[in-house]
Point group: C2
Chain length 506, copies 2
């Protein structure tokens, strides 16, 4: 309980912003499981049948060669790879069920897997939004501001991909600027945005080595970054994704394989069918990771949602999404693998819809023991937009979950039986010593919620939670202090970026 209300040095008088310190989150309760273990086997065997009979198209020749050596059946003319079920089962043995990600600040090093989970901020959006300027293309400044905020908000364990794409920078070298921001503006663990080539994966690894002052062997023993690839559903693994995966697996950096299965479009119109296809594609990628480096920490990725069959738009944070999170987590447990999922919404604005879709996603992740929650802060509009107010809202949603997961204290002193006897019928507890000893740290302290009475809220301008979030992130940016970094490390990171910018043709 003591972690609750202790104000951090980031407390601000203007916004009343206080937050619990950085801490690991574990779910001590049993996971929610919507399907039986027999049904888990139904999905498993159906996906093995797909891998055997239909197979996966693997564009990368390097990847096909590795899979061939591992025992898969290869047709180089069609790039089709088919997998014997026994070979898949064998390759699933011995993959780590948890891993530790080492941060530049050792206090922010965390173990992930089993019932331990981490929350990482959004990656990927081209747009950025706030209620002052609305939705617009992301810039280097937006990207850097987002990274600063992701670092300041203790509930986010990882900077998940630098928020928005800096669209004012050249696409060929943008990833270097994003990683420079991640490695210098925060001291947390970080996740590069999507690995879309072996070369970019290598840049991530080189910068992690500099940031953590280690070499290839040291980074393999003490991983510093979590990567991820998507399959191009249905049943396609393209060059860039396959080779990024191989690079990460060989470097011993944890990486998830996440099929892009939007039911009705890239996978069957049923959640059951989409989960079978997701499972087949995820297993194919995991097998490739093992073919590249036996025992590499390759893990299970979930993204299955559906398209709205009326508009063709993707839907997120729906009942189907929640079920698919929980069932995917059952599949990952079946394989003894960590799982990643996401905090998602299709809403274009930080309103009730954004909140309930995110809440549906987050609850499924928490109740399913999802180990890596990507896009946990700032995702809006199906991932097209990174929102500063949404980042603050998500911090509140996740802080509430973390407090909810803290075990209830039922020790004798805590129960206050003497206080109940002392107060007796029709009294109140404000003045009891039991209350006075505990009131400061007794309850969750929100960053965003306004619990004052109507009159106080009215006199203060009738602000919505979204308007309050706007004031909070702006104040946080004013309060930002760069975490300490050895100037030699920063110079080395900058030199790496400068050198690579001369090497990469724009």
């Amino acid at each position: 309980m003591s972690r609750r209300l202790r104000p951090t040095s980031r407390g601000s008088r203007e916004t009343g912003f206080v937050q619990p310190p950085f801490a690991a989150v574990k779910n001590p309760m049993a996971p929610l499981e919507p399907i039986s273990s027999d049904q888990v086997e139904v999905i498993h065997h159906a996906s093995l049948n797909i891998l055997r009979d239909v197979g996966i198209k693997v564009d990368s020749k390097i990847a096909r060669k590795l899979l061939h050596e591992a025992g898969a059946d290869i047709d180089d003319d069609t790039a089709r790879v088919r997998f014997d079920p026994g070979m898949v089962e064998d390759m699933l043995i011995g993959i780590p069920s948890e891993f530790t990600i080492h941060a530049r600040n050792p206090d922010k090093t965390l173990t992930v897997g089993k019932n331990a989970m981490i929350f990482a901020t959004v990656c990927g959006p081209s747009f950025v939004s706030d209620i002052d300027q609305g939705r617009r293309q992301g810039t280097r400044e937006d990207m850097r501001n987002f990274v600063k905020l992701a670092g300041m908000l203790n509930i986010f364990h990882h900077e998940g991909g630098s928020g928005c794409e800096p669209m004012d920078l050249p696409p060929e070298t943008r990833h270097l600027d994003m990683m420079l921001a991640q490695t210098t503006l925060t001291d947390k663990g970080w996740q590069p945005c999507w690995l879309n080539s072996a070369e970019r994966a290598r840049d991530c690894i080189e910068m992690a080595k500099i940031a953590l002052q280690t070499d290839d062997e040291g980074l393999r023993n003490k991983p510093g970054i979590i990567g991820g690839i998507n399959t191009n559903s249905p049943l396609l693994l393209d060059d860039s994704q396959a080779e990024g995966l191989i690079e990460f697996a060989r470097a011993g950096q944890p990486i998830h394989v996440t099929p892009f299965t939007l039911a009705g479009a890239m996978s069957p119109v049923t959640i059951g069918g989409s989960l079978v296809q997701q499972n087949a594609e995820a297993l194919a990628g995991i097998v490739l990771g093992q073919a590249a480096a036996i025992g590499a920490p390759v893990f299970y990725g979930h993204f299955t949602s559906n398209v709205d069959m009326r508009t063709g738009s993707p839907a997120f944070g729906t009942p189907e999404y929640a079920k698919s999170v929980l069932v995917s987590a059952q599949m990952a447990r079946r394989y003894g693998l960590p799982i990643r999922s996401s905090n998602t919404t299709a809403s274009a604005v930080v309103d009730a819809q954004a909140t309930y879709e995110s809440d549906m996603s987050i609850n499924a992740c928490i109740n399913g023991h999802v180990n890596v929650m990507m896009h946990a802060g700032g995702w809006l509009e199906g991932g097209l937009t990174c929102s500063f107010e949404k980042l603050i809202l998500d911090a509140e949603l996740l802080q509430m979950q973390a407090a909810f997961l803290e075990p209830l204290d039922l020790s004798e002193n805590t129960l206050g039986l003497d206080a109940i006897a002392e107060v007796g019928p029709a009294g109140h507890f404000f003045g009891t010593s039991h209350t006075l000893e505990r009131y400061e740290d007794a309850f969750y302290r929100p960053i965003l919620s306004d619990w004052r009475n109507f009159e106080s809220w009215h006199e203060d301008g009738e602000k919505t939670a979204t308007q309050r979030a706007n004031a909070i992130w702006k104040q946080l940016l004013r309060d930002y202090e760069k975490p300490p970094i050895d100037p030699a490390i920063e110079d080395e990171l900058e030199a790496y970026v400068a050198k690579r910018k001369t090497e990469i043709p724009c």
Copy 2:
């Protein structure tokens, strides 16, 4: 799955409003349990010790006499009642663990208990609000409009207490107008607002008899209303609540006993201590119900939350609230009793905060197998305000939960393995027969969410979910059709109300 998207006759072209039909909701998954069975016993025994050593003040002489006859220790001078633990344990045996509530429309009769849950709209607020007129005192017209909407929204199983108090009607007879609205404007099961005297409880029972065309014996065999009382925490049961409880227990109508335990004010500043006190007060009321009528369907009420120790305001929908819901549900299961809790928020406005606090409450209720969710639709501002937009938002939140609880179909045809083989790598599923056969009913259809792309949303005026909710409830009211009622029954209800208005001094 077939219940999903079938449009009801209430479909409206102007708002696109469709909803699944009225249906029971059951949670097929195991409940979430934050504490161990040993810890359940800690709370149980601590509360028995309070009942034995401190006791409860019971103002009603009638109630004290019943408790004395049941074996409790009575001090008439102080109105203090102390309970022997063995006597409490004995009285807990044989109380029904489920009950059926018979509605005027037999299709809306539902069994409640175990993993079956019902959602009932808000009761109690003096204020009403919508985004057109803001917050104001409730009127007869607001009350009747709210009852109509509660009846039209299929996800609400019960009209829970007519929304707002009609403050323009005399307080002495207002309950009659509220019950007249409940019994004539909807055909669902209904819950009278709080029972604050034996006489009002009797009015409820008499009007239920008329509405259901039955007599005392018939109503006892086929209950028609769910009642509830609060204890005046700490440790006080006042005249009106005790005697309302006795009246309902004797009439065989299900009634919950809900302690008003706001941690830090009316109960200890710890959730553990507040749950012990809640349990003691609930057991005292349940024992009184049994003393009045052995085997009466008296059940467990949860309301424990906390006050914000900085402002003194009650906080709702917090991490502590969610934990207290789940633990209370564990206590109720320990006693084999149904449990009621609520969908709560302290927000003054239908914004992100209202949504995440309601979501936290709802998720705890769903995951705890709470059987009666009171205030499930329309509650705002700690229960002081009934909001029309919140009612629509809550309908969406609950519909999503109901869809989430529907078992995942993993039958062979559903999985679409042939479609996966047919589409193959890099194709799409839009045109497959598997998709065409299923797309209309494939996925949850929201009433409020906007999933269109940014441009469409922008061109349509950038409406928030709350603004869309406003359009929906107004359109619903325009579409309202009174459910069929035998004119003779309606005449009889009106005559009862008229007669009672001449009898009750205003």
